[in-house]
């Protein structure tokens, strides 16, 4: 059956818990060595390794099912897994199901964070690496190219990627709704904890201009500022300097209000035409809720952000059916195109047709 000749095997966040995925994860050096080993497997004509934090998957085209077994054996040997142990967490598909799986992965439908777009870049990188080493051929070239097209189609025609689903990214989107661009904004991070750091990184990844960190312990602020490429600010200077910032990420462990209504009002008097956006991630809250009533002041606390993230997640989940229908149609057409060629070429032991090779 030609279906067995196109396969995917591996483990994902659906099949393996995080502690297992940690052991399965392949670093760059191991991946390179593994690719070399797999290239020597008899009958394995094409293959690509997709390796992200939530999945390690081998896509292959083989003349016999034994090649897939051999791929698994080589991988298990490298990662010090027994075959029986790996098979508890293994995901293994072939033929149409494997094609559909790749399309779903690339479109972000199989991701832990539904509809995320990073996976498309990761799959493109994986495919690019295999292609550069001559490890792809007409089948994988066509399947991967079609998967990229399908991903674009799904994202354009459905709302699967609309709205952010993490608190940090929701905050960044809100800032964009206020300022348009982050390039010229000045951001102040109050507190040197994890959640503040993650939010600051989300802002930096979306092009934030200048970042400053203030913490009650100046050495903590300096250490975090150092790691983020930001400036450190003595905490006591915050009320005085507040007017100089556009976005204030509050994430201190202070038991009381850190930014009072009066402090915010004083700051706004110095910058009345420019909005001030408070992102209050602290519990108990750092910013006096009354500050939200000030003109040009926008205040969002953790509950507000989480609510928006939840709504976006629900909206994405509501799109799954539509996405799967689109993917199924495309996977079906793709498989119908590939299957006869795969069958003919494997029977005749001739090179696979070249018409699928991308321009």
């Amino acid at each position: 059956m030609s279906a067995d000749h196109f396969f995917v095997l591996g483990a994902t966040h659906h099949t393996a818990p995080i502690e297992v995925r940690e052991r399965l994860a392949v670093d760059a050096g191991t991946a390179e060595a593994l690719r070399g080993e797999l290239a020597s497997i008899p009958g394995l004509r094409e293959f690509t390794l997709v390796n992200t934090c939530n999945r390690v998957e081998f896509y292959g085209v083989a003349t016999s099912p034994s090649a897939a077994v051999e791929v698994q054996a080589r991988f298990c040997a490298r990662q010090r897994f027994t075959a029986a142990e790996f098979e508890q967490f293994r995901m293994s598909l072939s033929g149409f199901d494997a094609v559909r799986h790749l399309l779903e992965v690339t479109a972000g439908l199989d991701s832990q964070m539904l509809g995320e777009t990073e996976i498309l870049g990761q799959v493109k990188d994986a495919y690019g690496a295999a292609q550069a080493r001559g490890q792809t051929g007409p089948v994988l070239n066509r399947v991967f190219q079609k998967a990229f097209q399908a991903a674009k189609h799904v994202r354009t025609d459905t709302a699967i990627s609309s709205g952010q689903v993490s608190v940090a990214n929701v905050a960044v989107d809100l800032a964009l709704n206020i300022f348009g661009s982050l390039a010229k904004t000045r951001i102040l991070l109050l507190g040197a904890g994890d959640i503040g750091e993650k939010t600051a990184k989300a802002f930096q990844s979306r092009g934030a201009g200048s970042l400053s960190v203030a913490s009650r312990r100046l050495e903590s602020a300096m250490a975090l500022a150092d790691s983020l490429g930001a400036f450190a600010l003595p905490f006591w200077l915050m009320p005085v300097k507040l007017a100089e910032f556009d976005i204030v990420v509050c994430a201190t462990a202070a038991p009381d209000t850190v930014v009072s209504h009066a402090t915010a009002q004083t700051a706004m008097r110095q910058r009345p035409a420019r909005p001030l956006f408070f992102i209050d991630l602290a519990l108990p809250r750092d910013v006096d809720a009354a500050a939200a009533k000030l003109q040009n002041v926008f205040l969002y606390n953790l509950d507000d952000l989480a609510k928006i993230a939840d709504e976006n997640r629900a909206a994405r989940e509501a799109e799954i059916g539509k996405c799967r229908a689109l993917i199924n149609t495309r996977a079906d057409a793709l498989w119908k195109h590939i299957e006869p060629r795969l069958q003919a070429s494997l029977n005749g032991n001739s090179p696979l047709p070249e018409q699928g090779r991308p321009a």
Binding site: L174, G180, K307
Partner: protein, 280 residues
Amino acid sequence: MFAGLTDRSWLWLAAECYFVGLLLGTWSLTRRNRQSGVAINTIIAVGYLFQLTGLWLRGRAVGGCPLGNTFEIFQFTAWSAITLYLIVGVTFRLSLLGYFTSCLAAVVTIVSLAIPAWDATRREHIFGGNPWIELHAAIALFSYGVFALLALTSVMFLLRNFSLKQKTPGGGFTFLPSIMDLDSMSVRLLVIGVTLLSISLAVGAVYWLRDLQSVNLTKLLLTVVIWLAYAVALGLRLKGKLLAQRFAWAGVILFGFALLSLWPVDASRHARPAPARVAR
């Protein structure tokens, strides 16, 4: 196919285009479809060409700028707003401004076409054959088009501000431009509008000073009050005294007032004795 069309037929076609733009924009918003921007701009551009043709035919028939009755004034104001949108809106790529412009143009043009009385009569030679007075009137109405666009950006600002303050930034609000972009665009439009209206009034004043009886007092007072109101709004904005939603409300209210003033201004011209009316 279009050879035998009258000016009003062209203007109806334009109004239909703007209405289609409105429908398409509404449909896109409800489906959260961002791709309709190009389609809406194309429809607006086609409508603009139809409207330009209609106004050109009317202008050729009357031998001047078609500003001889309420219908023509409304059509010219809508045309001015669209002209400015096609220059400013497309350049600055303010999302949804095309949709809002389409809504405004559709309402203004359809209402003016639907009330035959507004176009039943018109006065000829209202500018006394003086091209400077004609220029004064055309620039003044063009500035109203600018203020119309300012009213739209102000409405968009209020919606965006409301959605952010109420913590409901999703849905149709997703496609609105940012607070800062809208504020910046509104200030630019106000500067352009006040400048144009000032130039228009300066041109008109030269002739008014020569013949104080030539301008009806109601028209003069209303025009000066509108100019003054917009100029004060601009001054307060630049001094940081009229900001955010208050500035936006000012943009909306002043345009409503300016639009309403068109009736008494036009009526005051009709109230003047002498020139004959021609039936259409």
